[in-house]
C-alpha cells in the first residue's frame, strides 16, 4: 500500500467520527478499532466484554488467502444487499435478534457524529465561500456583518487568522508615499540597475509581457491577443516598434582612413561595402555583413546597417567624416573589439569627445534649465545628490557596457575616433503603408525662428543661430517640403530603399489629438505631380539628408531643454480657450530627427515591398514624447515577437538566431537548447515525444557543424565507390591538411566522450574537429575565439547564391532560368559545375526559404530532408500525396535507463530528485556513460545525415503558417554539399523539392526550396 494512498485515505477520514468509520478492505487494523455500530451490536451479546483485539482474531482468524477469497465471493454475492454488503463483508449472517438499547446507543452515536461533522467545516474554503451563491454579498470577505448571524463568529475567527498569516508588508512606506514621484523614481532607478529600461519601458510594462534580454528589459509581445492584428497592421496599417536597444557605434575621422580600416572587415563578394557611392554620400543607408579582418568566408561578426553623415565637400577623401554603424546588442561586443582593432583605436578618451561643429551651440552651464524634467534619467540626476557621477553615467548607460568603461577611443596613428553611442538615441520603427500618414500627421517641421522675436530667455539657441543662416533656412524648407510630399505616397515601398531624410521638427506633444484616432492617407495629397514623381525616382537629394542629430552638442542641448509633460500640461490648462492650440513660440523645442526608409521585402518575386517602413532616430529623452503621438495616430505597438514575425514574412534572417556561424548565434542556440531541454524534462516521459523513437537526433538544437561534415564524408564515400559522383581534386587548396582525416570519420567520432548530454553537441563537434585536425584549428582559431573559428560558414557570396538560385528552380529548362541563362552566363547544373563552389566553400550552409506544397506548418528545428525516388513516384501518381512516414526507430537507451534505475535503487544513492538523472553516473559498467533522459539521444550523435529513412539536408530556423501566403513557410539552412548533391540527382522536373519533418512527428511533407537574393 503506497504511502500517498494511505495519506489520502487518512485525509478523507479526518473528520469522520471514530465510531462511524467504515472499515474498507485495506485499513484492516484500523477497521478493528472503529468497527461499525451494527457489528458491535450483534457482537456484544456473543462476546460480552471481550476486547476488540480478540474480536478481530476471532473474525479474521482464517488464513489470509482464504479470507480474501471468501470476502470477494461474498461481496459479489451480497452486492444486492445494499449498504450492508461492503462493511459487513466479514459478518456471517443477518443477526437473529437485536438488543434495542445497544442498537439505539450506537445509532445515537452515529447521529451525534453526523451533527458534529455538519457543524465542522471540512473544506479549506472560507466561511463565506461555503454559502450558496444567492446568499453571498459583495463585501463579505472583509466585512463580517455582511454574513448571516450564525456564521459571523466563525468568520471573525477566520479573518483574524488571515491577518496574522499575511506576511509583513515589505515596504516601509505607505502606498501614497510609494506613489510619490521622488520615491517612484528612486524605485525605478533601483529596478533598472541590472537590466536597462528603454524610455518607453513603463508604457510597455503596462501592455506587454516584458522579458529581460541582452541586458535590457524589452517588450516580448502584447498582453492582448494580437498576433493577427499585428500582422494586419504590418500589411495594411502601421506597426510601431521601439528599437532603441539597438547599438550605435560612431566612427569619426578621415574618410579614406575609415574606409581603409574597415575594408578588410567586409567583402565585395557579399554585396556592397562601406564604400558604396550612394551610401558614402550619406544619401542612403547601407547594410552589410561584417567579418573578422581578412578572414572573409569565416569569422562572421554579424549584420549591420550604416549611415554616413552627408559630406559637405564632395570628392574630398581626406575630409573628416562621421559614420554610424547600427547593430544588434548581441553582436556589439565582438564588433566593437574588431573595429577597435581594425582602426587601431586603443586609447580611451575620458571626456565625451566634442565635435567641432560649424554650428555655434550653447554651452552647458548657460542652458541648464530651471524647468524640471520628467525624463527618468534626468530625474535621477537631480535626486541622487549624494552620488553625482554615477547617475550621469546611468543616464548614458546601457546594458551591454560596463558603466565605468570608457565610451570612446582614439587612435594616434589613424586619427579615427570610435564612440559607443548606445542609448544615446531612440530608434522607432514604423512598418506598414500607413506609416507615411502617421509620420506626416504626428510630426510638423519646426517653425523657422523670425528675427525680432524675443530671444532673451529661450534655451534653444542652436536653432536661433541656425535660422540666422539663410542657407540653413532654405535647406530646412526643402526638407519640410519633401517631408510633406511623403504624405502623398501611399506606401514606403515606393521610395528608394534606404533613403535618408533629415528633419527638424517641433514638439510633437503640442498637437496631440484629444483622442486616439487613425490617420488615413489624404486623397487630396495623393495627386500625381512632378515633385512626387521626382521623389520616387531620385529619392531624397543628398543635402536633405542632413540633420542636426549628427551633432552631439545639439542633441545634448535638445535633451537638456526638453520641457516636461507637467509644465506642458500646466501651460495648456492656462490657455484662455480650453482645448485650443498651445503656442509656445520660441520656447517650443526643436528636435532634430533622422528618417530612414527600411526597404522591407526585396528578394524574391512575390509580395515585393512587404513590411517596408521608416525608422525614426531621435535624441535621447524624447522617446515618450514621440511614442505617444505615434500611438495616438493609430500605430499599433509590437514587441520582439512581432519583430520575429516581420523578419520571417520578409524572409530575412533574424538576429541572432539565424547566424549559426557567428558567436552570438551559437550562444543563442545554446541558450535556446537549454531552455527547451528544461521544458522537455519537466514533462512526464509518457507525455512527451520520444525523440529517439521518432528518429530525431537533435530536437533542441541544430548540429550544423556535424551536418556539414557528415555530408562531406558522405559525398566522398560515394566518390570512392565507382560512378555516382565524379572525383574531385583531392588537394583542394583551402583544406589540404584536412582531406586525409575525413575519409575515416567514424572512428574519431566514436572516440571522444566529452559530449555528455545531447544538448552539448553544438559544442561537441568543435571539440572533435580540434582533435581531428589540430593544424587547421590552430591556423584558424585566434585565441579566445569560439565557434566562429570553425570551418563552418554561411554562403553569402552573391555570385554563388545567384548560381544556386538558378539551379534550385523547378527545372533547369524552366521559363525564367531559360531566359536568364544566356544573359548571365549561367552554367547548367552538372557535378563538374559544382566543384569550384564546393572547393571554395567546403563546409558551407545556404540560407533557403521553403514553402510547403500542401498541408503542414513547419516549426523551428524542423528537418529538411532529401526525398527518395519512390516519393516522387507517389507524388506523380497522386497530386495530393502528403508525403512518406518515418518508420519507428528502436530506442537503445530505454533498457539502459531501466538498468541504471534499478542500479540506483539497489545502491541507495545519496543524491535524489532530478539532479540524479543529470549528475554522476552510477558505478560499474555505467561509468563513462552519460546521464540519460528518456526520449533523447545521448552521447555523441551518429551520422546525422543517414540516421532516418530520408537523408537529412538541413534544419529550419524560422517556420510557421504564413498568413501572408496562406500556407506553411519556413526559412532555414541546408548544407551546400548536400544541396548540390541532391539537386544533381533529382530529375529536372522535380528539382528543388524537399521533404520537411518536424522533430516531434513521423510525417514528412513536401516543400519547395528556393534561394532568394
Amino acid at each position: 500500500m503506497s504511502n500517498a494512498k494511505e495519506r489520502k485515505h487518512a485525509k478523507k477520514m479526518r473528520n469522520q467520527p471514530t465510531n462511524v468509520t467504515l472499515s474498507s478492505g485495506f485499513v484492516a487494523d484500523r477497521g478493528v478499532k472503529h468497527h461499525n455500530g451494527g457489528g458491535k451490536a450483534f457482537q456484544a451479546p456473543r462476546l460480552g466484554t471481550a476486547p476488540p483485539r480478540q474480536t478481530k482474531t476471532t473474525h479474521y482468524a482464517p488464513p489470509e488467502p482464504d479470507v480474501s477469497e471468501q470476502l470477494s465471493s461474498r461481496v459479489m454475492f451480497k452486492k444486492k444487499g445494499g449498504w450492508r454488503a461492503g462493511p459487513e463483508g466479514t459478518s456471517q449472517e443477518i443477526p437473529k435478534y437485536i438488543t434495542a438499547s445497544t442498537f439505539a446507543q450506537a445509532r445515537a452515536a452515529e447521529i451525534s457524529a453526523m451533527l458534529k461533522a455538519v457543524t465542522q467545516k471540512s473544506s479549506n474554503s472560507l466561511v463565506f465561500q461555503t454559502l450558496p451563491r444567492h446568499m453571498r454579498r459583495r463585501a463579505m470577505s472583509h466585512n463580517v456583518k455582511r454574513l448571516p448571524r450564525r456564521l459571523q463568529e466563525m468568520a471573525q475567527k477566520e479573518a483574524e487568522k488571515a491577518v496574522h498569516q499575511k506576511k509583513e508588508h515589505s515596504k516601509n512606506k505607505c502606498h501614497k508615499a510609494r506613489r510619490c514621484h521622488v520615491n517612484r523614481m528612486l524605485e525605478f532607478n533601483r529596478r533598472q540597475k541590472k537590466n536597462i529600461w528603454l524610455e518607453t519601458h513603463i508604457w510597455h510594462a503596462k501592455r506587454f509581457h516584458v522579458v529581460r534580454q541582452w541586458g535590457y528589459c524589452l517588450g516580448e509581445r502584447p498582453t492582448v491577443k494580437s498576433h493577427r492584428a499585428c500582422y494586419r497592421a504590418m500589411t495594411n496599417r502601421c506597426l510601431l516598434q521601439d528599437l532603441s536597444y539597438y547599438c550605435c557605434l560612431e566612427l569619426k575621422g578621415k574618410e579614406e582612413e575609415i574606409l581603409k580600416a574597415l575594408s578588410p572587415m567586409c567583402s565585395i563578394d557579399t554585396g556592397l561595402t562601406f564604400a558604396a557611392v550612394h551610401c558614402l554620400s550619406g544619401k542612403r543607408q547601407g547594410s552589410l555583413t561584417l567579418y573578422r579582418a581578412h578572414r572573409y568566408p569565416h569569422g562572421v561578426l554579424g549584420p549591420v546597417t550604416f549611415i554616413w553623415r552627408p559630406e559637405r565637400t564632395p570628392g574630398d577623401t581626406s575630409a573628416s567624416r562621421q559614420l554610424w554603424i547600427w547593430l544588434h546588442p548581441t553582436l556589439k561586443q565582438d564588433i566593437l573589439e574588431e573595429v577597435k582593432a581594425a582602426c587601431q583605436c586603443t586609447e580611451p578618451v575620458t571626456p565625451t569627445p566634442c565635435v567641432p561643429d560649424p554650428l555655434p551651440t550653447p554651452s552647458h552651464g548657460q542652458s541648464q534649465p530651471a524647468l524640471p524634467d520628467e525624463k527618468i534619467g534626468k530625474k535621477r540626476k537631480r535626486k541622487d545628490d549624494g552620488e553625482d557621477a554615477k547617475p550621469v553615467k546611468k543616464f548614458f548607460g546601457d546594458g551591454t557596457r560596463d558603466p565605468h568603461q570608457p565610451r570612446s577611443w582614439i587612435s594616434a596613428a589613424t586619427g579615427i575616433v570610435i564612440s559607443d553611442l548606445t542609448m544615446e538615441m531612440n530608434r522607432f520603427r514604423l512598418i506598414g503603408p500607413l506609416s507615411h500618414s502617421i509620420l506626416t500627421e504626428a510630426l510638423k517641421a519646426a517653425s523657422v525662428h523670425m528675427e525680432g522675436e524675443d530671444t532673451e530667455k529661450t534655451p534653444h539657441l542652436w536653432w536661433i543661430e541656425t535660422c540666422k543662416n539663410p542657407d540653413a533656412v532654405s535647406l530646412h524648407r526643402r526638407q519640410e517640403a519633401i517631408f510633406e510630399l511623403l504624405g502623398g505616397v501611399t506606401s514606403p515601398a515606393e521610395i528608394p530603399a534606404g533613403t535618408v531624410l533629415g528633419l527638424t521638427v517641433g514638439d510633437p506633444r503640442i498637437n496631440l489629438p484629444q483622442k486616439r484616432s487613425t490617420a488615413l492617407p489624404n486623397p487630396e495629397k495623393c495627386q500625381d505631380n512632378e515633385e512626387v514623381r521626382q521623389l520616387l525616382l531620385e529619392g531624397v537629394p543628398v543635402e536633405c539628408a542632413h540633420s542636426f542629430i549628427w551633432s552631439h552638442a545639439v542633441c545634448e542641448s535638445v535633451t537638456e531643454n526638453k520641457i516636461s509633460d507637467q509644465d506642458l500640461n500646466q501651460k495648456r490648462s492656462e490657455l484662455l480657450v480650453p482645448g485650443s492650440q498651445l503656442v509656445l513660440g520660441p520656447h517650443e523645442s526643436k528636435i532634430p530627427i533622422l528618417l530612414i526608409q527600411q526597404p522591407g521585402r526585396v528578394a524574391g518575386d512575390d509580395r515585393r515591398g512587404w513590411g517596408s517602413g521608416w525608422d525614426v532616430l531621435l535624441p535621447k529623452g524624447w522617446g515618450m514624447a514621440f511614442w505617444i503621438p505615434f500611438i495616438y495616430r493609430g500605430a499599433r505597438a509590437g514587441g520582439l515577437k512581432e519583430a520575429r514575425v516581420h523578419s520571417q514574412y520578409k524572409r530575412s534572417p533574424y538576429v541572432p538566431g539565424d547566424f549559426p556561424d557567428c558567436s552570438a548565434g551559437v550562444l543563442f542556440a545554446e541558450e535556446q537548447a537549454n531552455d527547451l531541454l528544461e521544458k522537455y524534462k519537466r514533462r512526464p516521459p509518457a507525455k512527451r515525444p520520444n525523440y529517439v523513437k521518432l528518429g530525431t537526433l537533435a530536437p533542441f538544437c541544430c548540429p550544423w557543424e556535424q551536418l556539414t561534415r557528415d555530408w562531406e564524408s558522405r559525398v566522398q564515400a560515394r566518390e570512392g565507390s565507382p560512378g555516382a559522383f565524379p572525383p574531385r581534386g583531392e588537394g583542394s587548396d583551402l583544406r589540404g591538411d584536412e582531406v586525409p582525416c575525413v575519409p575515416t570519420p567514424e572512428k574519431p567520432r566514436q572516440a571522444p566522450d566529452e559530449a555528455d548530454t545531447p544538448l552539448q553537441d553544438a559544442r561537441g563537434p568543435e571539440g572533435e574537429r580540434d582533435t581531428e585536425c589540430p593544424a587547421q584549428a590552430g591556423a584558424a582559431g585566434l585565441p579566445g575565439q569560439d565557434a566562429t573559428g570553425s570551418l563552418l560558414c554561411v554562403l553569402r557570396s552573391r555570385a554563388a547564391l545567384k548560381q544556386l538560385s538558378a539551379w534550385c528552380g523547378p527545372s533547369c529548362g524552366g521559363r525564367r532560368a531559360a531566359q536568364r541563362a544566356p544573359g548571365r552566363g549561367q552554367r547548367d547544373l552538372t557535378p563538374e559545375a559544382c566543384l569550384p563552389l564546393l572547393d571554395r566553400f567546403p563546409r558551407a550552409l545556404v540560407w533557403v526559404s521553403l514553402s510547403l506544397l500542401g498541408k503542414g506548418s513547419p516549426e523551428p528545428r524542423t528537418m529538411i530532408c532529401v526525398p527518395a525516388e519512390e516519393d516522387f513516384l507517389q507524388l506523380g501518381r497522386d497530386r495530393l500525396y502528403c508525403g512518406p512516414q518515418e518508420p519507428k526507430h528502436s530506442d537503445p537507451f530505454k533498457s539502459k535507463i531501466r538498468k541504471q534505475k534499478e542500479k540506483k535503487k539497489v545502491e541507495k544513492r545519496q543524491n535524489h530528485g532530478p539532479a540524479g538523472s543529470e549528475g554522476l553516473p552510477v558505478g560499474g559498467p555505467a561509468v563513462g556513460l552519460p546521464a540519460l533522459t528518456l526520449g533523447l539521444w545521448s552521447g555523441p550523435l551518429p551520422d546525422v545525415t543517414s540516421h532516418c529513412s530520408r537523408a537529412l539536408l538541413g534544419f529550419v530556423t524560422q517556420g510557421d503558417f504564413s498568413m501572408a501566403v496562406g500556407c506553411g513557410e519556413a526559412l532555414g539552412f541546408v548544407s551546400l554539399t548536400g544541396l548540390l548533391d541532391t539537386l544533381c540527382r533529382q530529375p529536372a522536373a522535380q528539382r528543388g523539392l524537399v521533404l520537411l519533418r518536424p522533430p516531434a512527428s513521423p510525417q514528412y511533407r513536401f516543400a519547395r526550396i528556393a534561394i532568394e537574393l
Binding site: 556592397l272 520616387l536 531566359q819
Partner: protein, 146 residues
C-alpha cells in the same frame, strides 16, 4: 491614374531590359507601382488569387449583405499588365450573371512603373528606369432593368 495594390508583372519587358544591361553589375529590383488610397469599392485584380474568389468578391460587393445592405451601386475593377484579361473577364462574367442589371464601362490608361537597378559594385550609383505598362479600369454599375 492608377491605383493598385497587387498586380501582375509585365514579363515581356524584363527580357528587354536585361538585354541592355550588364547583369554582373546591376540587380534589377522592381518597385511597387505608385498607388492611390483605396476606396472600399475598388477591386484590384491579380494573377495569383483564384479567379473564382475574385469574382465572388466583386459579386459580394455588388450584392451587399444578406438583406442587401451596404451594397455598392458601382465598383471599379482594375487590372494591370497581364491581369487586364482577367479584369475584363471578371467584369463580363459579372454582367452575364446579372440578367441585365449591370452595365460596364471600361477605361484604359498607362501606368509608369519604376525599376530600380541596384549596383553590384561600390563605384556605381543605383539607377532607376521607368517603363510603361497598360492598365484597365472597368466601372461596373447597376442600372434599373427596363
Amino acid at each position: 491614374m492608377w491605383r493598385t495594390h497587387s498586380m501582375a508583372e509585365n514579363r515581356e519587358h524584363r527580357g528587354a531590359i536585361e538585354a541592355e544591361l550588364d547583369p554582373v553589375e546591376y540587380t534589377l529590383r522592381k518597385r511597387l507601382p505608385h498607388r492611390l488610397p483605396r476606396r472600399p469599392n475598388d477591386i484590384y485584380v491579380n494573377m495569383k488569387t483564384d479567379f473564382k474568389a475574385q469574382l465572388a468578391r466583386c459579386q459580394k460587393l455588388l450584392d451587399g449583405g444578406s438583406r442587401g445592405q451596404n451594397a455598392c451601386t458601382e465598383i471599379y475593377i482594375h487590372g494591370l499588365g497581364l491581369a487586364i484579361n482577367r479584369a475584363i473577364n471578371i467584369a463580363l462574367q459579372l454582367q452575364a450573371g446579372s440578367f441585365g442589371s449591370l452595365q460596364v464601362a471600361a477605361n484604359t490608361s498607362t501606368v509608369e512603373l519604376v525599376d530600380e537597378l541596384e549596383p553590384e559594385t561600390d563605384t556605381q550609383e543605383p539607377l532607376t528606369r521607368i517603363r510603361n505598362n497598360s492598365a484597365i479600369h472597368i466601372r461596373v454599375f447597376r442600372v434599373t432593368p427596363k
